[in-house]
Amino acid sequence: MSTIEHAGDLPAWAALAVSFFLVIGAGLTLIGTIGFTRLPTFYERIHAPTLGTSWGTGGIVMASMIFFTVLSTRLVVHEILIGIFVTVTTPVTLMLLARAALHRDRAEGNPEVPAEAPVEPAGEAEQPAPAE
Protein backbone atom coordinates (compact mmCIF):
# COMPACT_ATOMS: atom_id res chain seq x y z
CA MET A 1 0.00 0.00 0.00
CA SER A 2 1.61 3.24 -1.12
CA THR A 3 1.06 6.50 0.70
CA ILE A 4 -1.19 9.22 -0.70
CA GLU A 5 1.03 11.46 -2.85
CA HIS A 6 -0.66 14.84 -2.46
CA ALA A 7 -0.69 14.51 1.36
CA GLY A 8 3.06 14.97 1.63
CA ASP A 9 3.06 17.87 4.07
CA LEU A 10 0.11 16.75 6.18
CA PRO A 11 1.11 16.73 9.87
CA ALA A 12 0.77 13.50 11.80
CA TRP A 13 -2.07 14.63 14.07
CA ALA A 14 -4.19 15.65 11.08
CA ALA A 15 -3.54 12.34 9.32
CA LEU A 16 -4.55 10.45 12.46
CA ALA A 17 -7.71 12.55 12.95
CA VAL A 18 -8.72 12.09 9.31
CA SER A 19 -8.14 8.33 9.57
CA PHE A 20 -10.16 8.12 12.77
CA PHE A 21 -13.18 9.97 11.38
CA LEU A 22 -13.04 8.10 8.07
CA VAL A 23 -13.07 4.69 9.72
CA ILE A 24 -15.78 5.72 12.20
CA GLY A 25 -18.02 7.08 9.43
CA ALA A 26 -17.57 4.21 7.02
CA GLY A 27 -17.87 1.60 9.78
CA LEU A 28 -21.12 3.06 11.10
CA THR A 29 -22.52 3.21 7.57
CA LEU A 30 -21.62 -0.45 7.09
CA ILE A 31 -23.24 -1.40 10.43
CA GLY A 32 -26.40 0.44 9.46
CA THR A 33 -26.57 -1.31 6.12
CA ILE A 34 -25.97 -4.72 7.73
CA GLY A 35 -28.93 -3.96 9.98
CA PHE A 36 -30.94 -2.94 6.94
CA THR A 37 -30.22 -6.31 5.36
CA ARG A 38 -30.89 -8.42 8.43
CA LEU A 39 -33.84 -6.90 10.32
CA PRO A 40 -37.11 -8.81 9.83
CA THR A 41 -39.86 -6.24 9.10
CA PHE A 42 -39.97 -3.06 7.05
CA TYR A 43 -40.79 -0.82 10.01
CA GLU A 44 -37.66 -2.06 11.78
CA ARG A 45 -35.57 -1.87 8.65
CA ILE A 46 -36.39 1.78 8.05
CA HIS A 47 -34.46 2.76 11.19
CA ALA A 48 -31.17 1.11 10.26
CA PRO A 49 -29.86 3.22 7.32
CA THR A 50 -30.21 6.41 9.37
CA LEU A 51 -26.98 5.37 11.08
CA GLY A 52 -25.28 6.10 7.77
CA THR A 53 -27.05 9.40 7.26
CA SER A 54 -26.29 10.69 10.76
CA TRP A 55 -22.88 9.62 12.02
CA GLY A 56 -21.70 8.08 8.77
CA THR A 57 -22.12 11.33 6.89
CA GLY A 58 -20.95 13.33 9.90
CA GLY A 59 -17.73 11.38 10.26
CA ILE A 60 -16.78 11.47 6.61
CA VAL A 61 -17.71 15.16 6.25
CA MET A 62 -15.59 15.96 9.29
CA ALA A 63 -12.66 13.93 7.91
CA SER A 64 -12.90 15.75 4.58
CA MET A 65 -13.09 19.14 6.30
CA ILE A 66 -10.01 18.45 8.45
CA PHE A 67 -8.08 17.07 5.49
CA PHE A 68 -8.67 19.96 3.09
CA THR A 69 -8.39 22.64 5.79
CA VAL A 70 -4.98 21.43 6.97
CA LEU A 71 -3.72 20.67 3.46
CA SER A 72 -4.60 24.05 1.94
CA THR A 73 -3.85 26.04 5.17
CA ARG A 74 -7.15 27.90 4.98
CA LEU A 75 -10.62 27.16 6.31
CA VAL A 76 -12.50 24.82 3.97
CA VAL A 77 -16.04 24.24 5.23
CA HIS A 78 -18.08 23.71 2.09
CA GLU A 79 -18.46 20.02 2.95
CA ILE A 80 -20.77 21.10 5.74
CA LEU A 81 -23.34 21.82 3.00
CA ILE A 82 -23.66 18.07 2.45
CA GLY A 83 -24.01 17.47 6.18
CA ILE A 84 -26.78 20.06 6.52
CA PHE A 85 -28.54 18.84 3.40
CA VAL A 86 -28.54 15.18 4.44
CA THR A 87 -29.61 16.05 7.99
CA VAL A 88 -32.57 18.07 6.69
CA THR A 89 -33.74 15.72 3.95
CA THR A 90 -33.45 12.29 5.60
CA PRO A 91 -36.37 12.69 8.06
CA VAL A 92 -38.55 14.04 5.25
CA THR A 93 -37.92 11.12 2.91
CA LEU A 94 -38.16 8.44 5.56
CA MET A 95 -41.37 9.79 7.06
CA LEU A 96 -42.93 9.99 3.59
CA LEU A 97 -41.82 6.44 2.88
CA ALA A 98 -43.11 5.13 6.22
CA ARG A 99 -46.48 6.80 5.65
CA ALA A 100 -46.69 5.30 2.18
CA ALA A 101 -45.86 1.84 3.54
CA LEU A 102 -48.44 2.21 6.32
CA HIS A 103 -51.04 3.33 3.79
CA ARG A 104 -50.29 0.31 1.60
CA ASP A 105 -50.42 -2.11 4.54
CA ARG A 106 -53.75 -0.70 5.74
CA ALA A 107 -55.21 -0.79 2.25
CA GLU A 108 -54.37 -4.49 2.08
CA GLY A 109 -55.86 -5.16 5.53
CA ASN A 110 -52.56 -6.38 6.96
CA PRO A 111 -53.30 -7.32 10.61
CA GLU A 112 -49.79 -6.49 11.81
CA VAL A 113 -50.13 -2.72 11.50
CA PRO A 114 -52.34 -0.68 13.85
CA ALA A 115 -55.68 0.40 12.47
CA GLU A 116 -56.39 3.98 11.54
CA ALA A 117 -57.49 6.24 14.41
CA PRO A 118 -61.26 6.72 14.48
CA VAL A 119 -62.30 9.99 12.85
CA GLU A 120 -64.23 12.43 15.02
CA PRO A 121 -67.78 13.13 13.81
CA ALA A 122 -67.83 16.28 11.69
CA GLY A 123 -70.43 18.12 13.81
CA GLU A 124 -68.49 17.64 17.04
CA ALA A 125 -65.20 18.75 15.53
CA GLU A 126 -66.74 21.90 14.08
CA GLN A 127 -68.42 22.91 17.34
CA PRO A 128 -67.30 26.41 18.38
CA ALA A 129 -65.80 26.95 21.81
CA PRO A 130 -68.34 28.01 24.45
CA ALA A 131 -68.53 31.76 24.98
CA GLU A 132 -66.96 33.10 28.12
Binding site: M1, H6, V18, S19, T29, I34, I46, L94, L97
Partner: protein, 93 residues
Protein backbone atom coordinates in the same frame (compact mmCIF):
# COMPACT_ATOMS: atom_id res chain seq x y z
CA UNK B 1 4.03 6.25 9.40
CA UNK B 2 0.98 8.44 9.87
CA UNK B 3 0.64 8.74 6.09
CA UNK B 4 0.57 4.99 5.80
CA UNK B 5 -2.19 4.89 8.43
CA UNK B 6 -4.09 7.48 6.39
CA UNK B 7 -3.70 5.51 3.17
CA UNK B 8 -4.80 2.30 4.86
CA UNK B 9 -7.82 3.90 6.51
CA UNK B 10 -8.92 5.46 3.21
CA UNK B 11 -8.71 2.02 1.62
CA UNK B 12 -10.58 0.40 4.51
CA UNK B 13 -13.28 3.08 4.33
CA UNK B 14 -13.69 2.49 0.61
CA UNK B 15 -13.97 -1.26 1.13
CA UNK B 16 -16.54 -0.80 3.91
CA UNK B 17 -18.66 1.56 1.82
CA UNK B 18 -18.50 -0.74 -1.20
CA UNK B 19 -19.59 -3.63 1.03
CA UNK B 20 -22.46 -1.50 2.34
CA UNK B 21 -23.51 -0.73 -1.24
CA UNK B 22 -23.42 -4.44 -2.05
CA UNK B 23 -25.65 -5.22 0.94
CA UNK B 24 -28.10 -2.51 -0.09
CA UNK B 25 -28.14 -3.94 -3.61
CA UNK B 26 -28.87 -7.40 -2.17
CA UNK B 27 -31.80 -5.96 -0.23
CA UNK B 28 -33.00 -4.15 -3.34
CA UNK B 29 -32.99 -7.33 -5.42
CA UNK B 30 -34.48 -9.49 -2.66
CA UNK B 31 -36.69 -7.05 -0.74
CA UNK B 32 -40.15 -8.54 -0.41
CA UNK B 33 -42.11 -5.39 -1.18
CA UNK B 34 -41.80 -2.16 -3.14
CA UNK B 35 -41.09 0.02 -0.12
CA UNK B 36 -38.06 -2.13 0.75
CA UNK B 37 -36.69 -1.55 -2.73
CA UNK B 38 -37.24 2.21 -2.49
CA UNK B 39 -35.50 2.32 0.89
CA UNK B 40 -32.64 0.26 -0.53
CA UNK B 41 -32.32 2.75 -3.39
CA UNK B 42 -32.16 5.60 -0.89
CA UNK B 43 -29.45 3.77 1.09
CA UNK B 44 -27.55 3.15 -2.14
CA UNK B 45 -27.67 6.87 -2.95
CA UNK B 46 -26.35 7.85 0.50
CA UNK B 47 -23.58 5.24 0.38
CA UNK B 48 -22.42 6.29 -3.07
CA UNK B 49 -22.41 9.92 -1.91
CA UNK B 50 -20.12 9.00 0.99
CA UNK B 51 -17.94 6.86 -1.29
CA UNK B 52 -17.42 9.84 -3.61
CA UNK B 53 -16.37 11.99 -0.64
CA UNK B 54 -13.78 9.35 0.30
CA UNK B 55 -12.60 9.39 -3.33
CA UNK B 56 -12.19 13.16 -2.95
CA UNK B 57 -9.93 12.66 0.07
CA UNK B 58 -7.94 10.02 -1.77
CA UNK B 59 -7.30 12.12 -4.89
CA UNK B 60 -7.30 15.58 -3.27
CA UNK B 61 -9.68 17.01 -5.90
CA UNK B 62 -12.69 19.18 -5.03
CA UNK B 63 -14.71 18.03 -8.05
CA UNK B 64 -15.77 14.90 -6.17
CA UNK B 65 -17.43 17.05 -3.53
CA UNK B 66 -19.67 18.63 -6.16
CA UNK B 67 -20.50 15.23 -7.61
CA UNK B 68 -21.51 13.93 -4.19
CA UNK B 69 -23.68 17.01 -3.59
CA UNK B 70 -25.49 16.34 -6.87
CA UNK B 71 -25.97 12.68 -5.93
CA UNK B 72 -27.42 13.69 -2.57
CA UNK B 73 -29.95 16.01 -4.18
CA UNK B 74 -30.92 13.41 -6.79
CA UNK B 75 -31.39 10.84 -4.04
CA UNK B 76 -33.71 13.11 -2.09
CA UNK B 77 -35.86 13.94 -5.10
CA UNK B 78 -35.97 10.33 -6.31
CA UNK B 79 -37.00 8.94 -2.94
CA UNK B 80 -39.69 11.57 -2.39
CA UNK B 81 -41.11 10.93 -5.87
CA UNK B 82 -41.11 7.17 -5.35
CA UNK B 83 -42.76 7.48 -1.92
CA UNK B 84 -45.44 9.67 -3.50
CA UNK B 85 -45.89 7.05 -6.20
CA UNK B 86 -46.29 4.29 -3.61
CA UNK B 87 -48.83 6.37 -1.72
CA UNK B 88 -50.99 7.55 -4.61
CA UNK B 89 -50.16 5.38 -7.60
CA UNK B 90 -49.05 8.43 -9.58
CA UNK B 91 -46.44 11.14 -9.13
CA UNK B 92 -48.12 14.24 -10.56
CA UNK B 93 -51.85 14.45 -9.90
Amino acid sequence: MSHMILAWSVTIAQIMLALAMALAAIRMSRGPRAQDRVLALDTLYVNSMLLLMVFGIRTGKVIYFEASLVIGMLGFVATVALAKFLMRGEVVE
